[in-house]
């Protein structure tokens, strides 16, 4: 009996989580099996989408609006593939990075539940279902945040929990208003809705909730501590994948709205600009490597929101793709960077940026991966990040929005500045008294960040097919 790859990508991690929780000793094997089976399901799904444009299943045989249907189009499959690929590599990294038996035992079920929630988000077409999914993600993500068990991690996890709950409740209140107005919860109903007071209130509440969840300045307060204090694989998952779920919902919703208001769009862009500047300043000031990487996530989220803002002003049909590219690029590069940072911390014994050049240990491969990931995040060619930034700026210039071009340029320069703080430390080892030990062993844990970073840089070469794939199934508006 062949199982629908759509269903498999949801149920494989779910059953994997159940099994990994039941059999803690075999958790790693079960977890890898589940992730691998998703990696097998996603290409099958991609083939179906390539052939048909979009695939959907009405669960239980109840068509929306009564039932819930799952739908995969180019954008969802792109997100699913990114999640599966990053997930597989981070899982491989976690095999080696988690030494504590207790951490290993709990990492796998939580991570697989997280994966269930994220795949569910990418396939969902129902706003209440999205609410439940973001709660699955939130609880699993908080569990992963505090996996290290330190006081800082628990404190950051609590802040994260509060932000998550509040964001989800704002979203739920928004769902209430939408139901009040149109009496249904599916995307099709949302598109068909006439603009009205209750609709605006509902969508505004949902969007604010998502802004809180995706940590757009000034609602980013919970992110840096949570991402910086988690263990390395958890940080990679949180920064590379979890934030993307909220961004994805935001992208979906903003395109389901009756044409968004000019003021709202400008406001979102302004907040994005604030995030780029403020995050850049904080990254320049950060003392610890992982904190710097976490602040760079804030910057990148700001950049993605600037792309959204451009999307609103210049018409949706073209420029949302810049945002989608940036989301994909950041997911891959940031996961690689956090894993590399974790490796560096493991090898060197600390992650204080100022003292990196005093260490007699030189974890060459991890440093190399970090630098490659930085290339994508800064946006140098040929990385995927470069293509994303380029299409953002190209669109902005074509529409005559020079201020967004300026902000993007400033952000780029700042990211060069803060990453070179780290890279300079990698290159100089003149403050070490003892001879420098070059570490060049091919540990399994070095592979994952390296592969991620290399693909972040080289995926830019595949930008054209990725862009045409994203359009499959007409995710946004322009129905044939």
């Amino acid at each position: 009996m062949p199982i629908d790859p759509l269903i498999l990508s949801l149920f494989a991690p779910l059953f994997g989580a159940v099994a990994a929780f039941l059999f803690p000793r075999a958790a790693a094997v079960i977890g890898l099996l589940a992730v691998v089976s998703i990696c097998a399901a996603v290409p099958a799904l991609a083939r179906e989408v390539l052939a048909a444009g979009a695939v959907s299943v009405a669960l239980g045989g109840w068509a929306p609006p009564l039932g819930i249907s799952l739908r995969a189009d180019g954008l969802s499959v792109a997100m699913l593939s990114m999640t599966a690929a990053v997930g597989l590599l981070v899982s491989c990294g976690a095999l080696d990075a988690l030494r504590d038996a207790r951490q290993r035992q709990y990492f796998w079920p939580l991570w697989l539940l997280l994966l269930t929630g994220m795949n569910g988000v990418y396939l969902s077409t129902d706003i209440f279902n999205l609410y439940v999914m973001i709660e699955v993600i939130a609880l699993a993500a908080v569990g992963l945040t505090v996996l290290s068990g330190t006081r800082e991690a628990v404190r950051a996890g609590l802040e994260y929990m509060y932000a998550s709950i509040l964001g989800a409740l704002l979203f739920l209140m928004g769902v209430g208003f939408v139901y009040l107005q149109i009496g249904r919860l599916d995307f099709a109903g949302l598109i068909a809705a006439e603009p009205s007071g209750a609709m605006s209130a509902g969508l505004a509440l949902m969007l604010v909730g998502l802004l809180l969840k995706s940590a757009l300045f000034p609602l980013h307060f919970w992110l840096p501590d949570a991402h910086a204090n988690a263990t390395a694989p958890a940080s990679a998952l949180l920064s590379g994948l979890v934030v993307k779920a909220a961004l994805y919902i935001f992208l979906r919703l903003i395109t389901q709205m009756p044409m968004p208001d000019e003021v709202l769009i400008t406001l979102i862009g302004a907040l994005g600009a604030g995030a780029v500047i403020w995050g850049g300043v904080q990254a320049l000031r950060a003392e610890r490597l992982k904190l710097l990487v976490a602040w760079s996530t804030v910057v990148q989220i700001g950049l993605i929101f600037i792309a959204f803002a451009r999307a609103g002003q210049g018409g949706l049909s073209e420029s949302w793709k810049a945002a989608a590219l940036l989301v994909l690029a950041h997911g891959v590069a940031k996961a690689g960077m956090f894993l590399a940072a974790g490796r560096i911390k493991d090898e060197v014994g600390h992650d204080i940026i100022r003292d990196l050049d005093r260490s007699p240990m030189r974890p060459t491969l991890a440093q190399f991966s970090f630098a490659l990931a930085a290339i994508s995040l800064i946006g140098l060619p040929p990385s995927l990040g470069f293509i994303g930034k380029w299409s953002l700026m190209e669109g902005a210039m074509a529409a005559g929005y020079w201020h967004w071009v300026a902000v993007t340029m400033i952000g780029t320069l700042m990211s060069v500045a803060y990453f070179s703080r780290v890279l300079a430390g990698f290159l100089r080892f003149d403050r070490v008294r003892a001879p420098v030990v070059e570490h060049q062993g091919w540990a399994l844990a070095d592979m994952a960040p390296l592969v991620l970073a290399v693909s972040a840089v080289s995926l830019g070469l595949l930008a054209a097919p990725i862009l045409s794939f994203l359009e499959l199934g007409y995710p946004f508006g322009a129905t044939p």
Binding site: Y131, V132, V154, M161
Partner: protein, 96 residues
């Protein structure tokens, strides 16, 4: 003046009060209570949206949604409270 207007306003007021508390409360437990208020406010809105003037029966779908919301909220509360207790333990250990 019908029950749905009255309780709809109640729900909105409770949600706003909870929001104010969630933004402003300093104490950890109090912030959790504020978030619980928000969730009850959102529940009110959905129950009110489902209400139909008798003898019509209410729409069952929002009721199911609120039940889901209540269960989700108790899960989130349990995790948050566990974090609060754990943090307190860790801080007490450090203080010693």
């Amino acid at each position: 003046m019908t029950p749905d207007t009255i309780y709809g306003m109640t729900g909105i007021a409770v949600f706003a009060i909870g929001l104010a508390g969630a933004l402003c409360a300093q104490d950890r437990l109090r912030r959790m209570l504020a978030l619980k208020l928000c969730s009850v406010g959102a529940g009110f809105l959905l129950v009110v949206a489902a209400w139909r003037r008798p003898p019509d029966v209410p729409d069952p779908v929002p009721h199911a949604l609120v039940i889901t919301g209540i269960v989700v909220m108790v899960s989130a509360t349990a995790v948050a409270l566990a974090l609060i207790r754990r943090l307190q333990t860790l801080e007490a250990e450090d203080a010693d």
